[in-house]
Amino acid sequence: MTASTSYPRRWRRPPQLVKTRRWRLLLPLLLLGYLILALSSLEIDAGRVVEGLSRGARFVQGFLQPDFTSRWQDIRQGLIESLTMTLTATVVGVLVSVPIGIGAARNLSPRAVYLVCRSIVAVSRSLQEIIIAIFLVAMFGFGPFAGFLTLAFASIGFVAKLLADDIEEASASQIEAIRATGASRWQLIHYAVQPQVMPRLIGLSLYRLDINFRESAVIGIVGAGGIGATLNTAIDRYEYDSAGAILLLVIAIVMLSEYGSSHLRKYLQ
């Protein structure tokens, strides 16, 4: 260490992400430009917002002092519809997902089957529950049956996709070993694939059960039954205390089912 050597007294952090100087200057400008454009397209009615604040306060109050009793009949009916359609849709969805998931696994299925199954999955995943619900309500009429079909269809995309990905990732060496014994395709699935993906399938089903319940609270808005319809009515009537009660019930059930399913998964593994 020589005392005479002098060292710089300034240091700037080298740019980590955007390395070219032009983009470093341009990006914040672009962002700013976008923000100005986007915010200017907002037409905020200040009077309405101020008015909204007092309503918001009333809603928060309703949330803190929920009213379970005066609409209890509707709430009960909505909850029963939601819970039953959640369960039936999950069961049916998973049952249908299994063959589709196997069909959509590249390492197990013939190419034609693979393509058909993957496109079913793609359609089911790209359409949102609420849009599916709109169509199914138009076809099957109002009520939980349309909701059941919506959730079952949406479950197929979700479960089959993840199942197929899982099967494709399942240890190839194990599949090869069983294949080498001269097993048929179905024996292969039973002995080599099923043991590897079964725990995951159970986990996926429980997870989907959660999601389906949450979604069941939504699709009622377009007439597919369930607690969502009750909620929609309560909000339309400005009955914030009943709406608060419904939301609290939804949150409680979601928390319960998350807690329960994490325990069940631990127990099953």
């Binding site: 050597t5 060292y7 710089p8 007294r9 240091w11 952090r13 980590q16």
Partner: protein, 274 residues
């Protein structure tokens, strides 16, 4: 000067990690702390800068009683104590320079550290330290782009950037190859000699410790069982510290080791190295 008096640490689970540990480290002395895993070495040095809360006893750095400090005073005491970590503990995604400058965090205000505008003197000093540990041209690299030995050098520079009055060194060579380990130990001891810095070095490798430190303290089950010059460490004491099987296993894994002759052999080897 660091004074440790009757230091005891009992974890909430009821495990006693340290029992009435007492020793002092005078200015400029490098103390090697040896002992098997779980003997409390790591707990001991973490009690000194209060990363672990001691249960009872006293620790004094100069005139400051470290045990009863809190909040701002504790942070001010911590910046007087540099620490070098096992497996470097650099902030991997920051640059080498930022890692060294993080040694100044206790001295600068939040907004300065937030905007990375450290005082010119700190930056100059950081460059000097990087030059001293041989990494001047790596200042702008990210820490995770360096090799193990280089990262530990950054760790040393970070500790020195604090301008500490005491160095705590936790297994500095745990994940380094034998040659790099020696280089790092040499660097640490040289720097301590240059600056008259006292240091406590936790170390697994007994021969390496004997080669570099001024004094050895042996811990077993949280108690000091040896405290003397490195060349006074004999086979009997080693067995007392590590237990017979443990400490031969670190030397050789061959079947049926001739315990006594091997022990003496390695001691003799160390003797010549010193």
């Amino acid at each position: 000067m660091l004074t440790i008096d009757q230091l005891t640490k009992t974890y909430t689970g009821g495990d006693t990690a340290l029992r009435e540990v007492t020793f002092r480290v005078p200015r400029g002395q490098v103390v090697g702390l040896i002992g098997p895993s779980g003997a409390g070495k790591s707990t001991l040095i973490r009690c000194i800068n209060r990363l672990v809360e001691p249960s009872s006893g006293a620790i004094r750095l100069g005139e400051t009683d470290l045990v009863n400090l809190g909040g701002r005073e504790l942070r001010q005491a911590r910046r007087r104590i540099g620490m070098i970590f096992q497996e470097y503990a650099l902030v991997e995604r920051l640059t080498v320079m930022e890692n060294v400058l993080s040694g100044r965090l206790g001295y600068v205000a939040f907004w300065r550290s937030f905007t990375r505008r450290f005082p010119g003197r700190d930056i100059e000093n950081a460059y000097r330290l990087l030059d001293r540990v041989g990494l001047l041209e790596h200042a702008d690299k990210r820490a995770d782009a360096l090799s193990g030995g280089q990262r530990q050098r950054v760790g040393i520079a970070r500790a020195l950037a604090q301008e500490p009055e005491l160095l705590l060194v936790d297994e500095p060579t745990a994940s380094l190859d034998p040659k790099t380990s020696r280089q790092i130990m040499r660097l640490i001891t040289e720097i301590c000699a240059e600056r008259q810095l006292p240091a406590i070095v936790n170390i697994h490798d007994v021969p390496l410790a004997q080669q570099f430190v001024d004094r050895l303290v042996g811990l077993r089950a949280g108690q000091v069982v040896f405290d003397n010059a490195p060349d006074r460490l004999d086979e009997e004491t080693l067995t007392e510290i590590y237990g017979a099987e443990d400490w031969t296993a670190t030397d050789q894994d061959d079947e049926e080791p001739d315990f006594a002759s091997q022990a003496q052999g390695s001691l003799r080897l160390v003797g010549t190295a010193i």
